[in-house]
């Protein structure tokens, strides 16, 4: 009989960091969108499409890095669609987001079957593999956790830093936040509100696509139908818990990543039936959203901006 303590080791923390990575990308995507006043529940579908496109492009070219680029582009394309419907046509952001999620689920399932003849999963492709950071990997314990990982894990940390700088240290970031705080005021000071919103939602989709690429090219090396399993929504919870800041989202993603890693470990030791263990990340998400609901969202979130 395997004891619970046996699964708490450096390997668990390494897995937690891995499982946090798609959430880091996607929750930062959510931050950009909501900071510009657009609720983006389509993150789930953008991630799934990213995961699929990454595998498809890798399958076609044999190069997983081209796959990653395809993921980012596909996510960005869906971001553009969301922006078109919600910014240009002032449509309902939740309805548009739900439509994109359904389109992603149906579309990837359809294409998966049309291309690989199976609705359930694609063929295996070349994954991104792992890289080791010299010196870092030789530190005891910590080296085991962060020394050898998929390149996307390290890229996610860079994305956190860059996003923080962009949002809080540059004039562009100030403009984005102004658009989310008070679009009419931003407009009178000469900020192109629509353009800013478009940019942010497209960027949001690109980041979610990258999160999807991690799942299909970094973590596994194939596409599985519905493989995001609600992670787009969990990323939204991480965004809320992190107070709409990149560093906060990183912390929150690590918490959810830990829950995901723990869930996988618990399944492997079979202490509880897998179905019960699988509910853990979802229940944790509900609790987090409930407890931290009072955190302040950008004021113009969800309200369509119609220029006078």
């Amino acid at each position: 009989m395997v004891e619970i303590v046996d699964i708490i080791n450096a390997g668990l923390f390494a897995a937690a960091l891995r499982m946090a990575t798609p959430l880091v990308f996607t929750s930062i995507g959510g931050i950009f969108s909501e900071r510009a006043g657009i609720v983006n529940i389509a993150l789930e579908g953008m991630m799934l499409t990213g995961a699929f496109s990454g595998v498809l492009a890798t399958f076609a070219t044999g190069n997983p890095w081209l796959g990653v680029i395809a993921s980012v582009l596909a996510g960005g394309l869906l971001g553009y669609l969301h922006a078109l419907l919600t910014v240009k046509f002032a449509g309902n952001q939740i309805v548009s987001g739900t439509g994109i999620n359904l389109l992603a689920l149906g579309g990837t399932g359809y294409l998966c079957q049309a291309i690989w003849g199976s609705r359930g999963a694609s063929q295996s492709v070349q994954g991104l593999g792992a890289i080791s950071i010299p010196l870092l990997k030789d530190i005891p314990f910590i080296g085991e956790i962060i020394g050898t990982q998929t390149p996307l894990v390290y890229i996610s940390i860079i994305v956190v830093v860059l996003s923080y700088i962009l949002l809080f240290k540059t004039p562009m970031g100030l403009r984005i936040r102004a658009v989310g705080e008070h679009p009419a005021a931003a407009d009178t000071t000469g900020v192109d509100v629509y353009k800013t919103k478009y940019l942010c939602v497209v960027l949001s989709g690109m980041l979610a696509g990258l999160g999807g690429a991690f799942l299909s090219l970094g973590h596994l090396s194939l596409f599985v139908n519905g493989m995001t399993g609600g992670r787009g929504f969990i990323a939204l919870a991480a965004m809320i818990l992190g107070g709409w800041t990149p560093v906060g989202a990183l912390g929150a993603s690590l918490l959810f990543g830990f829950a995901d890693a723990l869930q996988m470990r618990l399944q492997s030791v079979a202490l509880l039936p897998s179905q019960i263990i699988l509910t853990l990340p979802y229940i944790l998400t509900i609790i987090v959203v409930a407890v931290f609901a009072r955190k302040r969202a950008p004021p113009s979130d969800y309200k369509p901006y119609i220029k006078e």
Binding site: V95, L103, Y110, G230, Y282, I286, V289
Partner: protein
């Protein structure tokens, strides 16, 4: 009353009815265009991936309405979709997005199945209502949790209802894989007792009395929204929560009630599926009826009567889709693509205004 007066009165009524018919038809033009647009884009998808759109849609149409079996299966598929559409629209009238109808439907079906298999020797008129009530209770509980979290803590229902759907899926999956699993390799329960079965309406097809219940639920929803105080309060909160609160309506109570009733409606839908169609609980029995319901409510113009028509359309797409899949090999997921496209088209009604402004709809002779 003289004959002339009667004639005049009759003419007036007729003119009024005609006017209503025409306005309701013009009002639903965006929805009709959304459906046509979705099918057109779907045709492009089919053609690009190497299938014949004409053949695919043709077999779909014949499968859905070609014979009495097809019609029966279409209405069978329309039933749970109508329930989840009503669930979505009721919550929507209160300004809430219930994205958890899928989970509420699953839990409702599960509760009904538990009552259906665990009680024996009861007369039909006790066992069947009990099983249906269990379905209502299951769905209501699954609506109550996000409702209370929203009312007391402000947790956004979009995330909590979505997450609770996953929980519903896995929890029921646990039960039918372990404690309640029937012998054999399929993840399902043993059949429910005959006394809990909803009667079938059309031999050979799976059409059951659940269909009648769904129509009754649509009428009840109209009544609730239009004729009762609760319905009035729900609509007032949906239109303007601050004004409703000022007028002495408790918005917290109202939104809890709306989500609980919404969950309960989806729950009966699940119970209808289990007691009328499958007659046992099968792991993952819903192919996404919760999401169909969302699309149907939007296409039905967020009103129960419109939802009936839209539900039959989506039921036809599902039942015809199965025949299409069998005879042409087109992946079944095209159904979900069509459903998604419809939702995207109705997401932004301004698309139509935009094209109208550009003169695109001149041939429709629309005046704004």
């Amino acid at each position: 009353m003289t004959e002339d007066k009667i004639k005049q009165k009759a003419r007036q009524i007729l003119e009024k009815a005609q006017l209503r018919f025409i306005t309701s038809l013009t009002d639903s033009i965006p929805q009709i265009i959304a459906v046509i647009g979705a099918f057109l884009i779907g045709a492009i998808v089919l053609a690009v991936t190497g299938y014949s759109p004409l053949e695919a849609y043709g077999t779909m149409l014949v499968g859905a309405f070609g014979d009495i079996y097809g019609v029966g299966q279409t209405l069978t598929q329309a039933t749970p979709i109508l329930f989840t559409a009503l669930a979505f629209l009721l919550a929507f009238k209160c300004g809430l997005f219930n994205l958890g109808a899928e989970g509420q439907l699953i839990i409702g079906g599960f509760f009904a199945a538990v009552v259906g298999i665990s009680l024996n020797g009861l007369p039909v008129f006790i066992h069947l209502p009990l099983a249906l009530l269990a379905g209502i209770l299951g769905g209501a509980i699954w609506g109550f949790i996000p409702a209370v979290l929203k009312a007391k803590l402000g947790a956004h229902e979009v995330i909590t209802t979505m997450m609770s759907s996953y929980v519903a899926l896995y929890v029921t999956s646990y039960f039918v894989n372990y404690p309640l699993k029937a012998p054999g390799w399929v993840s399902q329960t043993i059949p429910i007792a005959a006394s809990a079965e909803l009667p079938r309406l059309l031999p050979v097809t799976q059409l059951s009395a659940a269909f009648i219940l769904s129509i009754a639920a649509a009428i009840a929803t109209v009544y609730l929204l239009e004729k009762t105080t609760i319905g009035y309060e729900i609509r007032a909160i949906g239109l303007n929560p601050a004004a409703a609160e000022n007028a002495g309506i408790s918005t917290k109570k109202g939104l809890i009630l709306a989500l609980v009733i919404s969950g309960a409606i989806a729950g009966v839908g699940g119970a209808g599926e289990i007691l009328g169609v499958h007659r046992r609980f099968i792991d993952g029995f819903s192919p996404g009826y919760g999401w169909d319901g969302l699309a149907v409510a939007l296409i039905g113009g967020l009103n129960p009567v419109g939802s009936i028509i839209a539900a039959i359309l989506f039921g036809a797409i599902r039942s015809g889709g199965i025949s299409m899949n069998i005879s042409t090999g087109v992946p079944l997921d095209i159904i979900n693509v069509l459903q998604a496209l419809v939702v995207l088209f109705v997401a932004a009604p301004k698309i139509f205004e935009y094209f109208k402004k550009k003169g695109g709809f001149k041939w429709l002779k629309l005046s704004t």
